[in-house]
Symmetry: C2
Subunit: 157 residues, 2 copies
């Protein structure tokens, strides 16, 4: 397939689930998932491809004329702080988190052919990261792991 979705599925369901989960979490944490923040979350979730801030802005502006870069960056910052989205540093782009709720280190497989970024959770990998830093006496605050290449699907096309 060429549209970058990892596989055929009911993607509206992905989006709805993510938003419902976000509402729950924000309610429990007593932070505000405002209309703008929710809309930005929905836009980010509309694809399984990382999406740039200015793409988000273009889409947000369709329904929210006052939208400007700070509008978007504030919403993205909030969503990242709450663990609802991640930033892919090597792409300067943002992606919905499928594991929102329990804080975790994000690790991504990024396909240059279809553009998808799959979030993986690999405890052995995470342990190896910790071991590497412990040896140096380094205190970890953030781990960026972004593996670029070609996904299994794209190799068979």
């Amino acid at each position: 397939m060429t549209d970058g979705t990892a596989h055929i599925h009911d993607h509206e369901h992905c989006i709805d689930t993510a938003i419902a989960r976000a509402r729950e979490l924000c309610g429990a944490r007593e932070v505000k998932l405002t209309p703008i923040r929710e809309k930005v979350l929905e836009i980010v979730w509309r694809s399984h491809k990382p999406v740039g801030a200015y793409d988000v802005l273009d889409q947000l502006a369709r329904t929210h004329k006052a939208a400007r870069p700070p509008t978007v960056y504030r919403a993205l910052d909030f969503l990242m702080a709450e663990g609802l989205i991640h930033k892919i540093e090597s792409l300067n782009a943002y992606l919905g988190c499928g594991e929102a709720g329990h804080m975790h280190e994000s690790q991504f497989l990024i396909c240059r052919a279809c553009g998808t970024a799959e979030e993986i959770v690999d405890d052995a990998l995470d342990a190896a990261l910790d071991a590497a830093t412990k040896r140096s006496g380094f205190t970890v605050e953030r781990k960026v792991v972004e593996i670029a290449g070609v996904c299994a699907r794209c190799q068979t096309l």
Copy 2:
């Protein structure tokens, strides 16, 4: 210490060694380490902190009035292609490679207190990365591993 060097050492020696090694490698590969490229390599090597492209430009312009952004980005691209420097994606900055010559995956420990980035080579970590991708049938082309936190030195200050 506050200047961001990892430890007290003869840093001129670091620079000289890196440039000498770069000359060797480029000679052997029959690619051209031109004056501009060599100067950019030296500027990048002047610290153990990742340095932004426009910082490089400012420094390059001192001796090379015609320098413009493309001048710098072309040189940086060349140096990356030859494995002489790395880009730190999470900082949009560039750092000399201490292991130039044998191609390798780069893994960095980035201290937010002193700004240094230490390149580590951890085979167990690299193996864990490969294992994580093999399971998914993903073909790896590039691995970005950037661990941010506080280095051992800065914790004791």
